[in-house]
Symmetry: C2
Subunit: 403 residues, 2 copies
């Protein structure tokens, strides 16, 4: 007998028919003799509808009250799914985060889980009940409801799997696994049988939206056996684990991200510590910076370029302009018509030719590279926004279609 955590997203529970479909998957796992903990998101558009109601009343509502409001969506899902399980003869109990004892810090709307109590859930499992836990939510030390940020239900599921030392954590989605590329861009993208935590992390942070980044970090830290699979079709998904047998292609996939914008500080004085000053100012303003490039100096000035999320572009410009006297630069140049294409693969660094192969594919497609950034298992290039899909196809073909 195993303990299995199963997570279903909002579209998987959006109506009665889908809820019964989910109940059948759960029932099958339960009837095979497993203990089952289920994590659910809010139904379909429920969260957006609640946000709409709140915005109509107060677009600047406190995050504490937003969390109180939004957490109702997941509670509705677990109660309804428990009723569906009861209907098909499977004993079940739904629990909100405060009932489980999912403890978090107090950062409303983006809380981190600190501890999960065992008693209630173990007690229910021991009575052979399926335990349905409202995802996305937690409770802080004052007894206030918190939420875990976008995609937080993935994090709830992995945290429960880690806490209860589950044998497997299954993330059910509307795709059937992790692909070498977005199949909407590259129709012959291949489904991966397995991927490492690190590759998944890089893919997730480079724009692949299947798994929430934080959930993968947590899975890696606690060695949680993850599987991403389809709630619609019954077939094997993609396993996420520590080590994966390498394929000859060396890379796990190609990702794109068109939500980035480039900022260049032109004509910076050559005084020491200026890079530190720039990025500490941006950090204080809660602006995340991704790719950073510092050009070789020309005379007594240099340029620093970096990318930020498009939504942060205005704020970043403002912060820099406000500190022009301190930072001493000539001007700020921005470009929000760019995109990022990345290749990710755990075996990349032991194979020097991988980055070159990517650049070759782009060269052959006549695509100009504006900036390059690499990590141990990733190579990213910034290119013109209009070239992104063509670049993805060219790079994918180079790695996966050539003999």
């Amino acid at each position: 007998m195993s303990l299995i955590v199963q997570k279903f997203g909002g579209s998987s529970v959006r109506d009665t028919q889908r809820i019964f479909h989910v109940a059948e998957i759960i029932a099958e796992t339960y009837k095979a003799g497993n203990d089952v903990i289920v994590v659910l998101s809010a139904q379909g558009d429920t969260t957006d509808e609640l946000i709409g109601k709140a915005n109509e009343i107060n677009p600047h509502a406190s995050k504490r009250e937003m969390d109180m409001l939004l957490s109702t969506g997941e509670q509705i899902s677990v109660a309804l799914c428990a009723m569906a399980l009861e209907k098909i003869g499977v004993p079940a109990v739904s629990l909100a985060a405060w009932q489980v004892g999912i403890q978090s810090n107090s950062v409303h709307s983006d809380a981190r889980i600190k501890r999960i109590d065992e008693e209630r859930v173990r007690g229910e499992l021991n009575q052979r009940k399926v335990v349905l836990v409202a995802g996305f939510q937690a409770v802080n030390k004052n007894g206030d409801v918190t939420t875990l940020g976008r995609g937080g239900s993935d994090t709830s599921a992995v945290a429960l799997a880690a806490s209860f030392q589950a044998d497997l954590c299954q993330i059910y989605t509307d795709v059937d696994g992790i692909y070498t590329c977005d199949p909407r861009i590259v129709p012959n993208a291949r489904k991966l049988e397995a991927i490492t935590y690190d590759e998944m992390l890089e893919l997730a942070s480079q724009g692949a939206q299947v798994l929430h980044n934080r959930s993968v970090e947590l899975a890696k830290k606690y060695h949680v056996n993850l599987e991403v699979l389809s709630s619609l079709e019954k077939k094997p998904g993609t396993k996420v684990k520590e080590v994966v047998k390498m394929e000859k292609t060396n890379i796990a996939g190609v990702a794109k991200d068109t939500s980035v914008a480039r900022v260049a500080l032109v004509g910076l004085q050559h005084n020491p510590g200026v890079a530190f000053q720039v990025f500490s100012l941006l950090g204080k303003a809660n602006i995340n910076v991704d790719v950073i490039i510092q050009s070789i100096g020309r005379g007594d000035t240099k340029d620093i370029s970096f990318t930020v999320h498009k939504k942060d572009l205005e704020d970043a410009q403002q912060v820099l302009e406000d500190n022009k006297d301190v930072l001493k630069f000539d001007h700020v140049a921005v470009d929000d018509k760019i995109g990022k294409v990345s290749i990710v693969g755990a075996g990349m660094m032991s194979n020097a030719g991988v980055a070159a192969k990517m650049f070759e594919a782009l060269y052959e497609a006549g695509i100009n590279i504006q900036m390059i950034n690499t990590s141990e298992i990733r190579v990213s290039v910034l290119i013109d926004e209009n070239d992104v899909d063509r670049a993805v196809r060219a790079v994918h073909a180079k790695f996966f279609d050539e003999p």
Copy 2:
């Protein structure tokens, strides 16, 4: 400085505009220097929509899961209203029942409040925050959500007022007080300035739907100063209290109830204990019996008639037929085309002419009385369903319009 509990029903918070209207009433009370605890029901049709979703999935869902589902409605209301108060500059915090510590027994869907913790609410009031509490809900000793039954938010409000020894408990509704009669039937019905707990109890149980019966019982037990008033118009409502200066009419109001049906057991054997047997069987089947009449025997048999709620009529018939051999009667006769008209007044019993005056009014209107039932402060008659509104008008006119 006083502590005031204010309760607003579902129609009072059904949309953004109404929520801001409620927020203004609360803000005014708060700005006058009072501590304010607010109890809200679920918005408009939210509860019915949630019940609809549940029924689509499982019409026989466990009450435990129904409570888990339905309690989200009130949580949404308090969070949204807190946002509205924030918007107009009034510090506020919303709390679900588990956060307050509203403890109940474990009778899901019809729980009784046992205790209310003071700490959290006092702490928030001491910080000069308006405390918004989700009505209708509580939590049992296992940490499961319970609900208090129809109209349970009234009970939440009165229980909080009792527990915190509030100076006043205001129940805001879409009518502006308690009337001598339903103004839709008797256009010149008068609003009462005040009414006693007992009169209110009788009126509530005889069909006046302004206040939830249980909330009035609780208010009487703990001497809570109740006031029923309009959330739409700013004018005095009706006070509910221990003693009320009697008006010369002797009665507080006229109520009607058309949800009753009459059951007659015809030709019962004259053996002792048969009445006990009949009503203990019905009690075991959870069927509430109201008016009971036992006829004088004819020969060696007698008849017993009683009324039940229309929804229980079929069950009652079934229980009786199933036990025909034990009870030994000839046949069961039922009539669901009847209605009940009652007059209620604390001074009634000290004034022998009151009942007679009611019967006179009915006689003058040519209305035939089928059954009569009285309590210390009430006289009820059962009449033909089609005569009910005419009877109400006749009786009301007799007591309130004649000089």
